[in-house]
C-alpha cells in the first residue's frame, strides 16, 4: 500500500482539483504532512486525476454499434458489443478494434463487422478496416481477443460472433481469415469473451472461447417484464452452451481439446474469462464468469489439463451460495497480501464479486468489506478492468455499467438503463472508493456500456480507457493525469513490454514484479479479461515520486526468470526473455521487429 493513512483523503482533494485547478493542487501537495510519512519516494506528488472524452477529436465519432433491433426483442441485441486495443501494425502505438454488432438482414447488405482504427500517433485515429483486410468480414459480432498466436511478432485477432467464430492471422498489418485452416471454425454458436493463454506452457498460445446460450431466431422465446409486451429475455430461459478450449499445435492450427483438457462438463453461459496463478505453481489457471450459473475456477493440473474447483473455492457463488449474473472479469494483486483477487461484474441488485485467494485454493468474498459491493449494488456491471489510474502503484478498478432492459426504469425504481461508470480507487489495503462521481467529466454521464479496455494510447505515461456502448457509440476517455507540479506524469511510471523467446512471443502468462523501496508490485501479462474486450499487453507500474525501480523481475511462462536492477522511472522498456539488458522503447516507435 502506498498511502496507508492519507490516501483516501488525497483522492478526494485531488478530485476537487480535477479539471484544471493546478494551483490548488500545489497547495494540497505542500500541505500534505501525511505524505512525508510515506515510504520514501513513493508519494510525494499527489497527481490530479481527470478524464476527458476525446472520442470525436480522436476521429472515432463515426462509429456506432448496431444491434439490428427491429422490435422483436431478440436476446443477442442486448449483449454487444466488444472492442479494445491492438497494435496491429507493430508501430508501438495502440490501435483500436471495434465490433460493430450486426443486423438480422442478409449478410451481403451488412457493413463490415470489425472496424479497425489506426493510431496516427498524434491523438487521432484513421479507419483502416479495408486496408487491413477486414473489410469483407460479415457477422453478428460480439467480442475480440488479441494475441500473437503464431509467434510471428504481430498481433492476431480472434473474433467471437453469434455463429461461427473467426481467427484472423496478421501478416505485417494485413489480416487473413484462417478460421477454417486453423481448425477453430467449430459449430455455430453464440460466443462471448475469449482468452489466449499458454495452458501447457509449450510456448504456443492456446485459446479458450467462451460460449453463452443456445439461441436462434427460430428458438426465440417470449419474455415479458409486464406480462403483455415482449421484452428481452434473460439467460435462465435458454440452455447454456459449454465453452471450447483449443490447443495450439504450433503449426498454425488448433485442436479442440475441450474434453481432453478437462473443460467438460460445463454449464455454459460464460461471459468473461481471465487467467491467474493463484497457487503460484507457475501454471496458468483460469476463471470463467458465468451468467446465472456458478462461476468456474479451473486449476491447472501442471500438464495443461484442468480441474474445476469453483464451488469448493467459494468463487462460484455469492456469500449465500447463490449464482449471480457473472459478466466481465479481471484479476490482479490489489493489496499487500500478495494474493490475487478476482473481480466479477454482476447484475443490478447484485454486488460486484470480489474474491481474494486465501490459501490452498480457498477464496474469501470481499465484496462488502472492500467497499465495492454496496456501491455497485444498483448498477449492472459488464466490462471491468484493473489498472493503475493514478499511477500510485496499486491497481484501481474501472467498471463499465449499463442495463440490458431498456424499459427497466418504468418497471423498477432506482435502476436505469444507461448508468454511469464506477472508478474504484484502491486505498492500498484492498478497500476501494468510487471516485467517478467526484471526478465527473465523462464519468458523470450515463452509458449503456458493455466492453471496457485500457491502453496508454497517447503514450503520455498514464493509462486511458475505452468503452463501447450497446446500440451506441464508442468512447475514448483520455487520462489527464498531471503531477503535483502541473506537469505530465511520464516520470511517475515504468511501462514494461515482454517478448518471449522460449515462452510465447507476447510473454502472456509472465508474472512481472517491480520492487520499489521494499514494496512489491505485481502484474501479469495476459489477454482476455473484462468483457468482449482487449487491453494492451504493456504493463504499467505507477511509481509515485520514485525515480527508479530497485528490482524488476520477470517470471516467464517457460519458467525462466529475468532480473534487472535500478531501472529508471519514466520510460517504457522491452524485456526480451533471456536477454541481459532491458531494451528502451522510444516514444516514436517500438523495437518489436517482426520475426
Amino acid at each position: 500500500m502506498i498511502v496507508p493513512a492519507s490516501k483516501s483523503n488525497a483522492h478526494l482533494v485531488r478530485l476537487s482539483l480535477a479539471g484544471g485547478a493546478v494551483m490548488l493542487s500545489l497547495v494540497v501537495a505542500c500541505n500534505a504532512p501525511e505524505a512525508a510519512r510515506e515510504p520514501a519516494g513513493l508519494v510525494a506528488d499527489a497527481p490530479s486525476l481527470a478524464f476527458t472524452d476525446v472520442t470525436f477529436d480522436a476521429g472515432l465519432g463515426d462509429f456506432r454499434h448496431e444491434t439490428g433491433a427491429k422490435g422483436d426483442k431478440w436476446f443477442p441485441e442486448t449483449m454487444g458489443s466488444g472492442g479494445g486495443f491492438i497494435d496491429y501494425d507493430g508501430d508501438g502505438w495502440e490501435d483500436i478494434l471495434l465490433v460493430r454488432g450486426g443486423t438480422w438482414d442478409a449478410p451481403e447488405t451488412q457493413l463490415p463487422a470489425l472496424w479497425l482504427y489506426r493510431n496516427n500517433g498524434d491523438g487521432t485515429f484513421t479507419l483502416v478496416t479495408e486496408e487491413a483486410g477486414l473489410g469483407g468480414v460479415r457477422a453478428y459480432g460480439l467480442g475480440i481477443a488479441v494475441a500473437d498466436y503464431d509467434n510471428d511478432g504481430d498481433e492476431d485477432i480472434y473474433f467471437t460472433t453469434l455463429e461461427h467464430n473467426m481467427l484472423f492471422r496478421n501478416d505485417g498489418g494485413r489480416f487473413t481469415d484462417v478460421s477454417k485452416q486453423a481448425g477453430i471454425a467449430e459449430e455455430s454458436t453464440w460466443s462471448s469473451s475469449a482468452i489466449f493463454f499458454d495452458a501447457d506452457r509449450d510456448g504456443w498460445l492456446d485459446l479458450y472461447s467462451g460460449n453463452y446460450v443456445k439461441w436462434s431466431p427460430e428458438t426465440d422465446l417470449f419474455c415479458s417484464l409486464d406480462g403483455d409486451t415482449k421484452g428481452y429475455c434473460t439467460p435462465e430461459t435458454y440452455t447454456g452452451v459449454p465453452s471450447r478450449f483449443f490447443h495450439n499445435n504450433g503449426d498454425g492450427t488448433f485442436s479442440d481439446w475441450t474434453a481432453k483438457a478437462g473443460f467438460l462438463p460445463a454449464p455454459g453461459k460464460a461471459l468473461g474469462v481471465a487467467e491467474l496463478d493463484f497457487n503460484r505453481d507457475g501454471w496458468p489457471d483460469l476463471v470463467v464468469a458465468n451468467d446465472t450459473q456458478p462461476n468456474l475456477v479451473y486449476v491447472n493440473n501442471g500438464d495443461g489439463t484442468f480441474t474445476e474447483i469453483g464451488v469448493m473455492s467459494s468463487v462460484a457463488y455469492d456469500e449465500n451460495g447463490k449464482a449471480r449474473a457473472g459478466m466481465g472479469i479481471d484479476i490482479g494483486v490489489v493489496d499487500s497480501t500478495g494474493e490475487e483477487t478476482i473481480f466479477i461484474g454482476n447484475f443490478s441488485k447484485e454486488m460486484i464479486g470480489v474474491y481474494r485467494h486465501v490459501s490452498d485454493g480457498l477464496f474469501i468474498d470481499r465484496g462488502a468489506v472492500s467497499k465495492i459491493g454496496r456501491t455497485s449494488l444498483l448498477t449492472l456491471a459488464f466490462g471491468l478492468i484493473l489498472f493503475d489510474a493514478d499511477l500510485d502503484g496499486d491497481l484501481d478498478l474501472f467498471v463499465a455499467n449499463g442495463h440490458v432492459q431498456p424499459e427497466i426504469e418504468d418497471m423498477q425504481e432506482g435502476i436505469t438503463h444507461a448508468e454511469p461508470p464506477h472508478l474504484f480507487m484502491n486505498n492500498g489495503d484492498g478497500t476501494f472508493e468510487d471516485l467517478a462521481p467526484a471526478i465527473g467529466g465523462p464519468f458523470a454521464a450515463a452509458y449503456v456500456a458493455r466492453a471496457a479496455a485500457y491502453a496508454d494510447y497517447d503514450k503520455d505515461g498514464d493509462v486511458d480507457i475505452l468503452i463501447t456502448e450497446n446500440n451506441g457509440p464508442v468512447h475514448l476517455f483520455r487520462n489527464e493525469l498531471i503531477n503535483a507540479q502541473g506537469g505530465p506524469v511520464t516520470s511517475n511510471m515504468l511501462r514494461v513490454l515482454t517478448e518471449g523467446q522460449r515462452s510465447n512471443r507476447d510473454g502472456i502468462g509472465s508474472r512481472v514484479i517491480a520492487v520499489v523501496d521494499g514494496r512489491r508490485m505485481e502484474r501479469r501479462v495476459r489477454s482476455g479479461s473484462s468483457y468482449l474486450a482487449s487491453s494492451e499487453k504493456a504493463l504499467t507500474f505507477g511509481l509515485g515520486a520514485a525515480t527508479r525501480v530497485d528490482s524488476l523481475i520477470v517470471q516467464w511462462s517457460s519458467g525462466a526468470v529475468d532480473r534487472f536492477a535500478n531501472v529508471e522511472a519514466g520510460q517504457t522498456v522491452l524485456v526480451r526473455e533471456g536477454a541481459p539488458e532491458l531494451i528502451p522503447v522510444g516514444k516514436g516507435g517500438a523495437s518489436l521487429a517482426y520475426r
Partner: protein, 413 residues
C-alpha cells in the same frame, strides 16, 4: 409459514424486475408484515362473517375468504374491515390493482385505519414502486407509529440504495419495538453489505436474544461468522438451519464452506453437493416465480410454482400457491387434488379427506382421487373406508395395479 427471507430473496432472481413482488408474496409474515385487522365495529353477524373470512384467509382458503367478505359487504357496506380483509386477500393473490382499490375504500371510510397505509406500502413495494411505498409507510407511521411500517420503509430505502435512511428506519423499528426480529435481521444485512461484519453480528445476536427461535437470524449469525473467518463457531448455527429448513441451500453452502475451511474436505464436498442440488431446485422455483409475477392471473403458473415448491419440501409455500391457483380456477379438480395431497403430506388427514370427498362429489369417477382417499384412510387406520375407496378404483379401472397392490396389503378384517 415461511419467514421473510428478505435479502436472500431480494437477490434470488437475476432480473430484479421480477423479484420483490413474487418473493414477498411468499413471505407475508416476515418480509412484508401485515398488521392484523383491528377489532371489529360492525353488527354481530357481520363481525362473525369477517372473523370467519379472516380465518379462511389465514388457512389460505382465498375463495371462502372472499365469499365471506362479499357476504359481509352485502350486510354492511360501510365497514372498513371488509375492504381491508379483501385487500389482504387480493394482495396474497398478487392482484395488486384490486387490492389497492379495496384499501382505498378503507381509507375513504376511515383514513386512519390501522395497517391500511402499511399494506398499500407493501403493495407498492412488491410492484417495485419504492418511493410510493415509502410515502405510504410514512403515512402509516403518522397514524400508527408501529415497527412494521418503519421496517417496510427501511426495505424500500435499501432498494433505492439510500442506505443511511434504510438504517435509520430499521433502527427506529427496533426502537419502537425491541422484539421485532425482522428489523434486527435486515439491519444486520444492511451492515453486512457495508462490510461491517462485527456490527452486523452484534445486531443479529441482539435479535436472536429476543427471538431465539428465528431461523433466519440463526442463519445470519452463521453467515456472518463465516465472513468473520470463524468457521468453527459458524458450524453450529448453519447446521441448525440446515436441519430446520431442509430446502435451504444457503445454509448448506455455508456449512460446506465452513467444513472446507476446517480441513474436513470430504464432509465439505458432500454438503456442497447437497447444496448444489437444492440450489438447482431453487433456480427452477425462481424461474417459475418470474412467470407468476408476469402472469399473476394464470392459474397454471401458480400451480406450476406450487408443484416445484412441494417438491422442494416447502409445503406451506406450496399450499399458498395451490390455493391461489384454485381460487383462480375453482373448477380445476387437479388443483383440488393437489391441495388435498398437500394436506396429507402436512399431516392433516381430516382436511385431505374433506378435499378428496369434495372432489368426488364433483367427479365421482376421478380414479386418482379414490386411490388417494384410500391411502389417507389407510394411514388413518380406517381400513374399511380404505378398502371401499380402492375397490371403487377397481370398479372404475379393473386392472389398476396400485389399487390391487394396496388392497392386498390391507388386513382381512
Amino acid at each position: 409459514m415461511e419467514k421473510g427471507l428478505s435479502r436472500r430473496k431480494d437477490r434470488a432472481v437475476r432480473s430484479a424486475t421480477f423479484v420483490s413482488g413474487v418473493m414477498c408474496v411468499l413471505a407475508l409474515s416476515g418480509c412484508l408484515s401485515q398488521p392484523e385487522p383491528r377489532s371489529l365495529a360492525a353488527d354481530p353477524l357481520t363481525q362473525q362473517l369477517l372473523i370467519a373470512g379472516s380465518e379462511a384467509f389465514d388457512r389460505l382458503d382465498f375463495r371462502t375468504a372472499l365469499a365471506l367478505a362479499d357476504s359481509a359487504e352485502r350486510r354492511a357496506p360501510k365497514v372498513p374491515e371488509t375492504y381491508f380483509l379483501r385487500g389482504r386477500i387480493y394482495s396474497a393473490m398478487m392482484r395488486w390493482a384490486d387490492a389497492e382499490a379495496q384499501y382505498k375504500k378503507v381509507i375513504e371510510l376511515e383514513p386512519g385505519y390501522i395497517g391500511v397505509w402499511n399494506n398499500l406500502g407493501n403493495n407498492a413495494f412488491r410492484q417495485q414502486e419504492y418511493r410510493q411505498a415509502i410515502a405510504y409507510f410514512r403515512k402509516e407511521i403518522a397514524y400508527n407509529p408501529a415497527p412494521i411500517p418503519w421496517h417496510g420503509m427501511g426495505r424500500a430505502y435499501r432498494e433505492l440504495g439510500v442506505m443511511d435512511s434504510a438504517q435509520y428506519a430499521y433502527e427506529r423499528s427496533i426502537a419502537v419495538d425491541s422484539t421485532y426480529a425482522a428489523a434486527y435481521l435486515n439491519l444486520a444485512i444492511l451492515l453486512q453489505d457495508e462490510g461491517a461484519f462485527s456490527e452486523a453480528l452484534d445486531v443479529a445476536r441482539r435479535g436472536a436474544r429476543v427471538r431465539p427461535d428465528d431461523i433466519e437470524l440463526q442463519y445470519q449469525i452463521g453467515a456472518l461468522l463465516m465472513q468473520l473467518g470463524r468457521p468453527e463457531q459458524a458450524l453450529q448455527y448453519l447446521a441448525t438451519v440446515a436441519t430446520e429448513w431442509s430446502w435451504h441451500y444457503p445454509s448448506r453452502y455455508n456449512l460446506g464452506q465452513a467444513l472446507a475451511r476446517l480441513g474436513r474436505g470430504d464432509e465439505a464436498q458432500a454438503v456442497l453437493k447437497q447444496a448444489e442440488a437444492l440450489r438447482a431446485a431453487q433456480a427452477k422455483i425462481e424461474s417459475m416465480e418470474m412467470v407468476v409475477q408476469a402472469r399473476p392471473g394464470d392459474p397454471l403458473a401458480h400451480a406450476g410454482l406450487a408443484s416445484l415448491l412441494r417438491r422442494a419440501g416447502r409445503y406451506d409455500d406450496a399450499m399458498r400457491a395451490y390455493q391461489v391457483a384454485y381460487s383462480l380456477d375453482p373448477a380445476n379438480l387437479e388443483f383440488q387434488n393437489n391441495i388435498a395431497n398437500l394436506h396429507l403430506i402436512r399431516g392433516d388427514t381430516t382436511a385431505s379427506i374433506q378435499w378428496y370427498r369434495n372432489i368426488l362429489q364433483q367427479d365421482p369417477e376421478f380414479i386418482d382421487v379414490w386411490l388417494n382417499l384410500g391411502v389417507v384412510y389407510a394411514i388413518s387406520g380406517h381400513a374399511r373406508e380404505a378398502r371401499e375407496a380402492w375397490e371403487m378404483v377397481l370398479q372404475l379401472d379393473p386392472g389398476h395395479a396400485a389399487a390391487k397392490q394396496y388392497l392386498a396389503r390391507l388386513p382381512r378384517s
